[in-house]
Each structure stands twice: as structure tokens, then as C-alpha cells.
């Protein structure tokens, strides 16, 4: 087991109608696991809490969010209870992070090659020439043509596709054990999306490390992931191996998303009903669920057999 997230709880500060400050749950007990050599697809609508979960694990929550509880065991150590100094040694070294919106993510005031060199220097003493050589090597293995020339470029001089390759290179240059990619292809054209996902998939396989791809696109999960965790309103509502979940989806949301895929999901990512409606208690999805009954006023348990489980009163899960 590479990463074992258990009952992750995060609250977000909200300002009420009268201007009073309060906190509302944003992640209500999220659990998932990542195994070495496998890729987990963390999927859900906008605002389901996918990125928030990743930020919480890496200790990168924004000031308006706060951690309430849970554990995130990475190689046996709980990331949530680590000191900032210890976390700093994990981030970028043993967990690589690929973020969305590539252009804004690179330091605008530093040349691309220098950023790759700096990424190495963060975690170990380096010899400049060797680090520069490694930077060029990883650029070329990321499929960047003319790496020596590109290393001298400023981030704004590169196309979004190349920038995202650099970001993946930055995430991998210190040979992490886990790669987390948060919407790695957002804002890229379709051809580039496929290339970037192919690259991510290939690198995780080749290095035999664990991967998490956060996406709104079920098609991406089907094609590039081994396991899936479907999130809704701050909870994982269904999880399991991709094959089982796609052939026998147990949660109404998963079924709706699969029925809706691929085109509309891929396009908008916010289909399957209107805005996320969260009833105070009971099943969070019941307001939009076609199968909802009075039973759904009670919070559903996690129903499961083996690795496949769903958070629904009516889930029927066959043993694999």
C-alpha cells in the first residue's frame, strides 16, 4: 500500500447572510487507497472535493479551509500529522504533483531549465552541470523537442502542451513514489490532452509508482486508470477497480455519469443535473437521485463486497 487515506475531513470557512463567520464541511470523511503500479482515477463533478482532497493530503490547503480529521498514510507515515518541515521533504521528492492550468503554474521569473535544476536542488545537494544535464534528459524523455534550446526559454514562450510536459518533468525529476495529477489536461486541446495522458500513464507504468489522476472525465478514467473513486459532495460514493465499476455501477450517480458519458461529460464536466445540492443529512445525492425513497433520509452506509463498494442503501454489489 502506497497511500491510504482514511476518513479525511476538511471544513471550509463560510460567511453567512448576516456576515457571521462559520465553517461548513467540505470533505465529509473521504477514504481511498493507491497501490504501487496502479493509477487511481478520482472522478466527480466540479466542487465534489477532488482537488481539495489532494491539497489536504499534501498540506497545501488554502487559508479558508482547515483540516478536521482523518489520516493519510504515505509509506506508513501520516502526512496529516507531519510537521511542515517534514512535509517539505515529501512534497516534490516522494510525491510529485502535476497541477491544472500549466501556464500559470511555472514561476514566471525563472527560465524553464533553471526551474528543473532548482527542483533538484530543493531536495539534495547538486552539481550544477549534472543537474542541468538531468534537466535536459528529462525534458527530452517528456517528449520536448530540442530540450537544450527549450531549457533557456521563459515559461511564457512555450505552448501550453510543452508547459504541461515541463510540469510533469518537474514532478518526476526527483523520482517520486507517487504522482498526483490534478486535472492535468484542463485547458489543452484534444490532441494534446491525449498526448499528456499517454505520457503520464507511460511514466507511472515504467517507473512502477502509484498515480492519482483527478478528472471530471469518465473517459479518462476508463482509458488510463486501474481503480476509480467517484466523489460527490465531499464523499466517495463509489469505488472499485475500473472494470467492475464500469460494468456494474452500484451508485445512481455513477450510473448517471456513465450514461451521460462520453461526449457531454467530456465537454462540460458539470452535467448530470444542476448545481451540487446538499441536503442537511441523509444521502447527499438524494435531491437529484431518480431512485430516492424515504430510506435516503438516513445517511447510507458503505455497501461493498471486496474492493468494490458504494455509498447507497440500494447498492447491489456482486463479489468479483
Amino acid at each position: 500500500m502506497l497511500l491510504d487515506v482514511q476518513d479525511l475531513r476538511v471544513e471550509r470557512s463560510v460567511t453567512g447572510a448576516q456576515g457571521e463567520r462559520g465553517f461548513e464541511p467540505a470533505l465529509a470523511g473521504v477514504s481511498f487507497r493507491v497501490v504501487k503500479g496502479r493509477i487511481l482515477g478520482l472522478v466527480g463533478e466540479h466542487g465534489a472535493g477532488k482537488s481539495l482532497a489532494a491539497s489536504a493530503i499534501l498540506g497545501l490547503l488554502r487559508p479558508e479551509a482547515r483540516l478536521v480529521g482523518g489520516r493519510a498514510l504515505f509509506e506508513g507515515q501520516d502526512l496529516l500529522r507531519m510537521s511542515e518541515a517534514d512535509l517539505t521533504r515529501v512534497r516534490g521528492a516522494r510525491i510529485g504533483f502535476v497541477v491544472q492550468s500549466g501556464h500559470a503554474t511555472l514561476d514566471p521569473n525563472t527560465r524553464v531549465g533553471a526551474q528543473l535544476v532548482r527542483a533538484q536542488s530543493i531536495h539534495r545537494p547538486i552539481v550544477k552541470a549534472e543537474a542541468a544535464w538531468r534537466a535536459e534528459t528529462i525534458m527530452s524523455s517528456m517528449g520536448i523537442p530540442e530540450p537544450r534550446l527549450r531549457a533557456q526559454a521563459w515559461p511564457h514562450e512555450l505552448t501550453p502542451g510543452i508547459v504541461q510536459r515541463v510540469v510533469i518533468g518537474l514532478a518526476l525529476i526527483n523520482e517520486p513514489q507517487l504522482l498526483i495529477a490534478d486535472e492535468p489536461t484542463a485547458g489543452l486541446d484534444i490532441t494534446t490532452q491525449v498526448q499528456i495522458l499517454d505520457l503520464l500513464h507511460l511514466e507511472v507504468r515504467r517507473r512502477r509508482i502509484g498515480g492519482i489522476i483527478i478528472t471530471r472525465d469518465l473517459g479518462v478514467v476508463a482509458q488510463y486508470c486501474d481503480d476509480i473513486a467517484v466523489m460527490y459532495a465531499g464523499q466517495v460514493v463509489e469505488q472499485g477497480p475500473v472494470g467492475q465499476v464500469f460494468t456494474r455501477p452500484a451508485h445512481p450517480l455513477t450510473r448517471a455519469m456513465i450514461a451521460d458519458a462520453p461526449e457531454r461529460l467530456a465537454l462540460a464536466g458539470r452535467r448530470v443535473g444542476g448545481p451540487v445540492a446538499e441536503p442537511a443529512d441523509g444521502c447527499a445525492y438524494r435531491a437529484r437521485c431518480p431512485d430516492a425513497t424515504d430510506r435516503c433520509l438516513v445517511a447510507p452506509p458503505l455497501v461493498g463486497a471486496g474492493v468494490h463498494a458504494a455509498r447507497c442503501h440500494f447498492a447491489r454489489i456482486a463479489a468479483a
Binding site: G92, F97, V99, L106, D107, P108, N109, I122, H156
Partner: protein, 338 residues
């Protein structure tokens, strides 16, 4: 025409227009008075031939517009008239006092920056904690504090009670004679002349006024640094830098680099307004700089001197705003690149 050139020309045009407005203001200051010739001569009983000479010089029997044009030409020639108190040319008196004021302002801006940058950075990293709130509270207090009051408080504590600061009697101890002028800074000139006693005295005299002004500068600048840092720290590339596992020092450098244009521009704007504050502090410490000169001229209705002070202040503000504009230009090039 190339864009930067055109922008620079436009700025120059605006600058010229503003200069004209300043000269006009300075001119009207005298015009507003009921008996201009008396005012210009200053003394209550000008001799008849002096008066006639003055009417001739300034064209006081001519229309206001002609007077304004003549006045403008005089200003352009550097003829700012004579102080009625001393009878000396105003320009010379002001020039002699500029080094004292510049020295004070320069050290204050330096010290203020040295205080503000680390404090603002620390507050930004500690966003919304007690530490951050303390820094913000102290800064607001510093901004709200009248400069002369702060100066008097410091004098009370360090001169009167603790007796470790020298008397507020100018730029060097009254028993010493000022060093030969090279740069105009008593401290630096004393060092050049290898006069350690004078250097020590000049330095001691500098401490309290510089601290007063530095605290004023630092208070505003701290909030500015904090805000600029926070803007950087909310940017995606900063969050990503954290995800790479960068240390606090590296993160500070990245954010500070991005925040530098904002901080530089703010510093320039603040410096432009600093002369007014400096004047009050100079007055308390009997510093003998341009600010004190201007204040005293106002108190004595020494109009030629006041006019000169206005022009010099305006020129200084204009220079600082030009610096500000340049910093903004560089920043915009950076942003376009990002």
C-alpha cells in the same frame, strides 16, 4: 513611433503641464495678496526706489498674464527671488539645505525598508494569525501617528529620561564645527576628513530623526509588502512552488521577486509624499534642512522663500513619480512576459 517612446513623450508632456500648474500656483500665492509689491519685498517699509525697482522687475504695473510669463521665465532661469529675512537669493539658501534633507530621507527610506520587508514577509506567511494581526495593528498605529508627536515621544524617552540621545540641536553637536563640505552629508564628510569625533556626533544626531521617519515609512510599507506578498502567494505558481517542496527561504525569494514591482512603486509614491513629513521632523530636531526652511518661511510669510519651497517640493515629487512610472513600466513588461 515605437510604443515606449510615445509613452515616455506623453509622460513628459503631462509632466510639463503639471510643472506649469505648480508654477502658476506658486505665482498665485503672491497674486492673491492685496499688496503684491509689499509682499514681494516683504518688509513693511520698503524704500521708494526699491519699490520702483521691484515694480519694474516684476512688471507689477502690467496685466497678470504678463506677470505670470515673467515669473515663469524667472523660475526657468533659476531666479527665485530673495528672502526678505536674510536678503539672500532663495535658490542658494535652498540648495545649501538640500543635502541635510536628502540625507535624512535617504537613511529613513533605507531603514524603513529594512524594517518593513522582513516584517511584511513574516506577516504574510503568518496570515490571519495573532502575529499577523499584531503587525497590522502596529502598522496602522504607525500610519496614524503624527510625525512630530512620535519625534517628541522619542526625544522624551531617549533624550530626557534615558539621556542616551543627543539634544535636538541640528546635524552635529553645537560645540563642533561642521566638516568641509564634500557630499553635503556631515556624517560622510566627517569620515572623508577622518574626523572621528565629528563623525560620531553627526551619526548620533541622525539616529532619532531617522528612526522617527523610518517608523513612519516602515508602517505604510509593511502593509504594502504584506499585501503584495499575499497577492503573490495566492498565485498558482506559488502554490505549485510549495508542492515542489521548496523551503520557506526559496518561497520568500519567489514571492518577493514577483512582489518587487509593487513594493518599488509604492516606495516611490511614498517617498514623493515624504518631504512634508520630513519638514515636521526637521522642525522638531532643528535639522536645518529644506523642510524646516519651508515651514519657517511660511510662519514668517517670507513669500519668495515659500515659493521656492513649493517649487522644490514639486520638483522632488515629480522626480519620485517619474521613478514610480518607470518601475510600473518595468513591471508591466514582466507581466506581459508572464
Amino acid at each position: 513611433m515605437e510604443r515606449p517612446v510615445r509613452a515616455l513623450l506623453r509622460r513628459l508632456g503631462v509632466g510639463l503641464f503639471l510643472a506649469l500648474v505648480v508654477v502658476l500656483t506658486s505665482f498665485l500665492l503672491v497674486k492673491l495678496d492685496a499688496a503684491p509689491s509689499d509682499v514681494l519685498l516683504g518688509g513693511p517699509t520698503p524704500a521708494a526706489e526699491e519699490r520702483a525697482q521691484l515694480v519694474e522687475d516684476y512688471g507689477l504695473d502690467r496685466p497678470a498674464f504678463v506677470q505670470f510669463v515673467r515669473y515663469t521665465i524667472r523660475v526657468l532661469r533659476g531666479e527665485l527671488g530673495r528672502s526678505w529675512l536674510t536678503g539672500d537669493p532663495v535658490l542658494g539658501e535652498i540648495m545649501a539645505r538640500i543635502p541635510a534633507t536628502l540625507e535624512l530621507m535617504l537613511y529613513s527610506i533605507l531603514l524603513g525598508t529594512l524594517i518593513a520587508v522582513p516584517t511584511g514577509v513574516a506577516a504574510a506567511f503568518a496570515r490571519n494569525t495573532a502575529e499577523d494581526r499584531t503587525v497590522r495593528g502596529a502598522s496602522v498605529l504607525g500610519e496614524a501617528m503624527p510625525p512630530f508627536l512620535l519625534a517628541l515621544l522619542l526625544l522624551l524617552v531617549f533624550f530626557r529620561w534615558l539621556d542616551i540621545a543627543p539634544a535636538p540641536s541640528g546635524r552635529i553637536s553645537i560645540v563642533l564645527s561642521p566638516p568641509t563640505a564634500v557630499t553635503g552629508s556631515y556624517f560622510i564628510d566627517s569620515i572623508i576628513m577622518q574626523d572621528s569625533i565629528a563623525a560620531r556626533s553627526a551619526l548620533a544626531q541622525l539616529v532619532l530623526p531617522v528612526v522617527t521617519l523610518a517608523l513612519m515609512v516602515g508602517a505604510t510599507l509593511t502593509l504594502l509588502v504584506r499585501g503584495a506578498m499575499l497577492a503573490q502567494m495566492d498565485a498558482p505558481h506559488f502554490v505549485y512552488a510549495r508542492a515542489q517542496g521548496m523551503s520557506r527561504e526559496m518561497l520568500t525569494m519567489i514571492a518577493l521577486r514577483g512582489a518587487l514591482p509593487t513594493i518599488g512603486a509604492g516606495l516611490a509614491t511614498q517617498s514623493a509624499a515624504l518631504l512634508g513629513v520630513t519638514a515636521l521632523v526637521e522642525h522638531v530636531f532643528a535639522w536645518g534642512g529644506v523642510g524646516q526652511y519651508g515651514l519657517e518661511a511660511m510662519a514668517r510669510a517670507d513669500f519668495a522663500a515659500v515659493q521656492g519651497f513649493i517649487l522644490v517640493s514639486a520638483a522632488f515629487a515629480a522626480i519620485m513619480h517619474l521613478v514610480h512610472a518607470l518601475v510600473r513600466r518595468i513591471a508591466r513588461i514582466r507581466i506581459r512576459r508572464a
